[in-house]
């Protein structure tokens, strides 16, 4: 079963443009001319895209992902969510712990069999990043609010 992703894209774009349009009323006249022009142009083009998708002229615009086995799509979705969780927990448990856990977890999930690599690579990379960025380049990497681990 193939879905017309251009149609879905146009609907999402209309929602985004709607959200921007609602904000326009809070902006003074002097500052809203340029963005209004951009919204109008985007809206016209989104309408063109919607109509062309309805006509279903452009066969190429249909997404590839649905042609791939569902397990790959699942894998992509799980990995994307895990990156999101890594970013969320970075602030909570700090850069060191979250990065080590994410790296080790990622390697296990991607079927890395060498146990030494699973342990040593995250450990070395995390520490190298921490000292290079955090200490040498003085970037204030998150220390964590729930658990605080830092040197």
């Amino acid at each position: 079963m193939k879905k017309n992703w251009d149609f879905i894209s146009s609907i999402i774009i209309f929602i985004i443009l709607g959200a921007f349009s609602l904000q326009l009323k809070n902006i003074p006249k002097e500052a809203k001319g340029y963005p209004t022009f951009m919204i109008v142009c985007s809206f016209i083009l989104a309408v063109v895209l919607l109509f062309s998708s309805l006509k279903n002229n452009n066969k190429e615009s249909k997404t590839e992902i649905i042609d791939k086995p569902i397990e790959y799509a699942k894998r992509v979705a799980i990995y994307a969510i895990s990156i999101g969780l890594y970013i969320f927990f970075m602030e909570k448990i700090g850069f060191l712990l979250s990065t080590f856990i994410f790296m080790a977890g990622s390697l296990i999930y991607l079927k890395m069999k060498n146990k030494l690599v699973i342990v040593l690579l995250p450990l070395i990379t995390t520490l190298a990043m921490y000292f290079f960025f955090g200490k040498f380049l003085t970037v204030m990497l998150p220390h964590g609010t729930w658990i605080q681990i830092y040197f």
């Binding site: 500052a31 963005p35 895209l49 890395m112």
Partner: protein
């Protein structure tokens, strides 16, 4: 003039200056190669260090850092699809496609050669015709910048790869996203949706890191797991004579574009790289290769962004106007060392100035062997299995986005851009248009506001300025040529089909 150049040569080739040039290049390449660290940061971090050095040595060190960082940004762009600097975004597009085909070595070789070529000739332009080219810089005001930005945005046509509606739609929405934050006239916060972090606008670098790198990681996972565990090949770092011939004209043209864009205030190497990339595609005999690993695309982008380095120093040295953000930091460093840029600089500080000018050429020559060696070492990274590579890219992208201003919001921006970028690539929406619009959007809006202030309601008066008309003509031709070419190709195909029947 010749005696001044000779003095410059003698001063540049002192051991201490050569050591600092080499060190500056190495550190600059490393800074450029790190996602999130820009050429501006590389130069700014070392300004206090330069205080302890002689003025000419200090400025040679900073110039080497500047050139090295602009070049270095292309290495992760080619190998990992993470543009180290915004100027290397077009390189990422073609370079990473070559990496996937097992031609990373060739892509790196082309990138290094084109960078050194562009940088060297820009330094020659700086040395020979700086005062002459400075006159052009004086003639560039907000109306010219408006037309230049529009000209730059017409590159969207070239980047749309056959789907103009999607290309323009992405361009306009990205220009709209670029308006998030304070407006350039009143400083009024727009489209913040109640999120305080959006008051400062959407940061360009996290978006670029996310939109180019995360989709590549997610695409790796679409392959069967045994492929995810396999490693890629770097391939040989060499350029054939045929490839050299094919790209020579592109390199020359892109260097000229880079120098001109460098001279124009507010337009930096990122604008030069995109403009040159778009121009290269338009005139290429192999436009179908663009987006799939075009050697002309890499050469165009690299020769232009490094060509910009010397160009941006022309208005800086002759008029005291910095042509790019790193040039602005260099201006500060010059004041720190008692050098006052302007017309009198060439007569009052001859030795220091000509040492810097000659040194700039030497920096770009040295970039070739140093860059070549750096590429050979760093190229090994893609020989890692994809499972390790995917994990490392995520970490590098996260740390790179965070390190821009130590803000977790930038990481969230990077992540959001990455997810959106993934769906965009899946549905044939050109992601490069996002980068282009985000780079040019703020410049366009600000220039429009200033032009309106200059001419009031009679904004058409801007076309009384020759350079504005010239840029307008460029923009018009850039917009129409691909459409005409497309129509002609369609007609040719139809005729051929009829003949076949």
């Amino acid at each position: 003039m010749l005696s001044n150049i000779l003095i410059g040569l003698v001063n540049t080739f002192t051991p201490i200056n050569l050591i600092f040039i080499t060190a500056g290049l190495i550190v600059g390449i490393i800074f450029g190669a790190l996602p999130g660290f820009s050429a501006v940061m590389a130069v700014a971090v070392f300004v206090p260090v330069s205080y302890w050095l002689k003025p000419d040595t200090a400025l040679l060190l900073l110039s080497a850092l500047y050139c090295g960082a602009i070049y270095g940004g292309s290495i992760p762009a080619i190998l990992l699809a993470i543009p180290g600097t915004p100027a290397s975004a077009p390189t990422s597009f073609e370079g990473n496609a070559m990496t996937k085909k097992g031609q990373a070595g060739k892509a790196l070789a082309l990138c290094t050669t084109a960078s050194a070529f562009g940088g060297f000739w820009s330094s020659i332009a700086l040395l020979i015709c700086a005062p002459l080219l400075a006159i052009v810089a004086l003639k560039v005001g907000p109306p010219e910048q408006v037309m230049l930005a529009i000209f730059g945005l017409t590159v969207v046509c070239s980047l749309s790869f056959g789907n103009m509606t999607k290309g323009f739609l992405v361009g306009f929405i990205s220009l709209l996203i670029a308006t998030i934050g304070q407006d350039p006239v009143m400083g009024f916060p727009r489209f913040t949706f109640g999120v305080f972090s959006l008051t400062g606008g959407v940061q360009l670098t996290p978006v670029l890191i996310g939109i180019f790198s995360l989709p590549e990681v997610l695409k790796m996972l679409e392959e069967p797991l045994d492929k995810v565990l396999k490693a890629s090949k770097v391939g040989k770092m060499h350029i054939t004579l045929d490839e050299f011939r094919r790209t020579a004209f592109t390199a020359i043209k892109s260097t000229i574009i880079g120098i001109i864009i460098g001279i124009i205030p507010a337009a930096g190497p990122d604008v030069a790289a995109f403009l040159s990339y778009g121009e290269a595609k338009k005139v290429s005999k192999h436009p179908e290769e663009f987006g799939h690993g075009s050697i002309e695309g890499i050469v165009a982008s690299e020769a232009a962004n490094n060509g910009c380095t010397g160009g941006s120093l022309i208005p800086l040295l002759t008029l005291g106007i910095p042509g790019s953000a790193p040039a602005a930091v260099l201006l500060g460093a010059m004041f720190l060392h008692g050098l006052r840029p302007g017309p009198t600089l060439f007569t009052q500080q001859t030795t220091a100035v000509f040492t810097i000018l000659v040194g700039f050429a030497v920096i770009n020559i040295l970039m070739l062997p140093i860059g070549w060696y750096f590429c050979k070492v760093s190229g090994k990274i893609i020989e890692l299995p994809n499972s390790i590579l995917a994990t490392v890219i995520v970490i590098l992208a996260t740390v790179g986005a965070f390190s821009i201003q130590s803000s977790l919001f930038d990481v969230i921006t990077m992540y959001t851009a990455g997810i959106i970028g993934y769906f965009m690539t899946k549905n044939d929406f050109p992601v490069t248009s996002v980068a282009l619009a985000l780079i040019l959007g703020p410049m366009l809006e600000e220039s429009i506001s200033l032009t309106q202030t200059m001419f009031g309601s009679n904004i058409l008066m801007m076309f009384t300025r020759p350079l504005t008309v010239l840029f307008a003509l460029f923009a018009l031709s850039s917009l129409l040529l691909p459409i005409i070419k497309n129509e002609m190709d369609k007609k040719k195909l139809k005729t051929k089909a009829k003949e076949a029947v």
